[in-house]
């Protein structure tokens, strides 16, 4: 089944977000299909990271709806009224969604292996042996089998980010969110992380990637969305959008980053 015909996995419907008086998301409508790699670009402050963080409830939206699968994110709708989810239900929704952060956020007091094992054991209740076997397999997949017993502080940024990807994958999420995964890396380490993400895309993982890596968007992305000032300016096939941007703001942004 090609991505174009697959069912939608993530739906943003009229999503708004206010931080106090600051209106950072101004009505986002967007769909991500199952298996799609959806790349979001835009200048800083455009709201792209906030949009991503709303999907797994690191931020709550002020208006609109976000669905992942059939589930409304963050709320329960009863007779047309929204009820907040309790902590248990929120945790359950997050379990299905992996997130990779700009600053890696590996647990500093745990080794690479322990980082990857933590959630399967503590959240899913897997046995340590089972979690360890799976963690080693994932570390191998991101090319870091020989770094399993090192602490994050002993690893380069690129290695840390690859461990962070393995950690998110260990929960077997149906959706992966990448929040500028290569922005904090030295230039020569970016490639390794992007390669891991490319491999992941090939396995059919649904991914929303906020990034400045236009090359990645062109090569791996199924759709490219350009955001500015809290709205989606344009969206479409990455090669189309990059080669032939329709809007002035997209043109201007691409001319700066390309």
């Amino acid at each position: 089944m090609s991505v174009e015909t697959a069912e939608p996995l993530v739906r943003f419907e009229g999503v708004h977000k206010f931080f106090g008086e600051n209106h950072v998301l101004r009505g986002i409508d967007m769909t991500v299909r199952r298996g799609e790699v959806s790349v979001v670009i835009g200048p800083s402050g455009s709201g792209k990271s906030t949009l991503l963080r709303c999907v797994n409830l690191l931020e709550t939206i002020s208006a609109g709806r976000i669905y992942v699968g059939d589930e409304l994110i963050g709320y329960r709708e009863v007779n047309g009224r929204l009820h907040d989810l309790n902590v248990k239900q929120i945790a359950a929704q997050r379990r299905e969604i992996g997130m990779v952060f700009q600053k890696f956020n590996l647990f500093g007091h745990k080794t690479a292996l322990q980082n990857v094992m933590e959630a399967p054991v503590q959240v899913k209740g897997k046995s340590k042996a089972e979690a360890k076997a799976r963690a080693l397999e994932l570390l191998d997949r991101v090319g870091l089998a020989d770094r399993a017993d090192f602490y994050p502080a002993q690893l380069s940024g690129g290695q840390q980010q690859r461990v962070a990807i393995a950690r998110a994958l260990a929960m077997d999420p149906e959706l992966m969110l990448f929040d500028e995964p290569t922005s904090a890396l030295d230039p020569e380490l970016v490639g390794d992380v992007l390669n891991v993400m490319k491999d992941l895309a090939k396995t059919g993982m649904t991914m929303i990637v906020v990034t400045h890596e236009i090359g990645f968007a062109r090569e791996v992305g199924d759709t490219l969305t350009f955001m500015d000032a809290g709205v989606v300016v344009e969206s479409g096939d990455p090669r189309e959008v990059i080669a032939n941007p329709q809007h002035g703001r997209t043109k201007e942004f691409l001319s700066k980053v390309l």
Binding site: N56, L57, L58, V87, K88, A91, A92, R94, R95, I97, G98, M99, F101, K103, N105, L106, F107, G108, H109, K110, T111, E118, A119, Q122, V123, G143, A145, D146, R147, F150, Y151, P152, A153, Q154, L155, S156, G158, Q159, A164, R167, A168, M171, E188, L189, G191, D192, N195
Partner: protein, 317 residues
């Protein structure tokens, strides 16, 4: 770097010749010698006076240092220190968690507790706990305005030892709560977000992710507080609790009219215990420093055949 002026150099030319290492004549530091000599002279003078001045009465110190009453006093002092600190640490963790809670009632009660127990002298609090049986002769559990389930005479439940531990522990918990709060705040917010994104529950995030990393910041000042507590136990005569090291050595001094050697006995014991506590602290710090302190960077390995080709660039750096 040299390529700018001399043109391109290749690694094989530049890397193979081992250079002659620099052997420079070091700068002289006469000030270090002068200050060293002065300090040694002072130290010799002090030591000499300690051994030659008969008023120190080292013979009496030797007699009493292992005296049964004194050693028992050391035991009670240690017991008071440990129990008060355990009580204080348990309460402080709770108070620090409460202070970070989303529940405003918990936040305010934590603040209020710290305000009361930090805001009044520990001496006053110790007297207060000593007098609790005067204030509440009976402690009863029951339903308010309903039947009583059980009751105790307060003076049976809270004897001098319990009153001392309560007085010291509750007072200390207020200080430790602030230390724990500072520790929790020192952990990067990204750690919590990463754990939340993995679907971990709040209590697990606290116990497994935040607190272990906060301990790195919490342990040194807590060690400080423990050593402080060791000496604060000398105030328990306010309860009155009369078995601790200071009280015992004071009463021996009063009995023998030899205050100086008995003060030395007490001082030596406090110093010994403090030293032992410092060793313990060193190991606790080492444990909680894992992943941060004393780490060597991962060894640089030549790319192995097993590693996928695309990863060699980084592994080889």
């Amino acid at each position: 770097m040299s390529s700018a002026t001399t043109g391109r150099t290749t690694t094989s030319e530049a890397g193979n010749n081992r250079p002659e290492l620099i052997k420079a004549v070091p700068v002289r530091h006469p000030g270090r010698w002068v200050s060293g000599v002065i300090i040694v002279l002072i130290a010799v003078a002090v030591l000499q006076s300690m051994f030659t001045n008969p008023n120190f009465r080292w013979d009496i110190v030797a007699t009493y240092i292992m005296d049964t009453l004194v050693v028992q006093g050391v035991g009670w002092t240690l017991l008071l220190t440990v129990l008060s600190m355990v009580l204080a640490i348990v309460l402080a963790v709770l108070l620090a968690f409460m202070r970070q809670s989303d529940n405003p009632i918990l936040r305010w009660s934590s603040w209020f507790w710290v305000w009361i127990f930090r805001g009044t002298p520990v001496y006053t609090q110790l007297i207060f706990w000593g007098l609790i049986s005067v204030l509440y002769p009976k402690i009863a559990a029951g339903i308010p305005a309903g039947p009583e389930l059980f009751s105790f005479d307060t003076k049976d439940l809270i004897n001098a030892g319990v009153a001392a531990v309560l007085g010291l522990g509750l007072n200390e918990s207020a200080y430790l709560a602030e230390i724990f709060r500072a520790g929790l705040k020192s952990v990067d917010k990204g750690q919590v977000e990463a754990a939340e994104a993995l679907g971990m529950r709040k209590s697990k995030i606290m116990w497994r992710i935040v607190l272990p990393q906060a301990m790195r910041v919490i342990v040194p000042p807590t060690g400080n507080e423990t050593i402080g507590m060791l000496k604060t136990t000398s105030l328990v005569l306010a309860v009155p609790f009369t078995l601790d090291l200071t009280f015992v050595t004071n009463s021996l001094a009063n009995r023998t009219y030899l205050p100086i050697p008995l003060l030395l006995v007490a001082a030596i014991w406090y110093l010994v215990i403090t030293s032992v506590l410092m060793v313990g602290q060193h190991y606790i710090e080492k444990y909680y420093g894992k992943g941060v302190d004393n780490l060597s960077p991962a060894p640089v390995k030549a790319p192995t055949l097993k590693a996928p080709a695309r990863l060699q660039g980084e592994d080889a750096e």
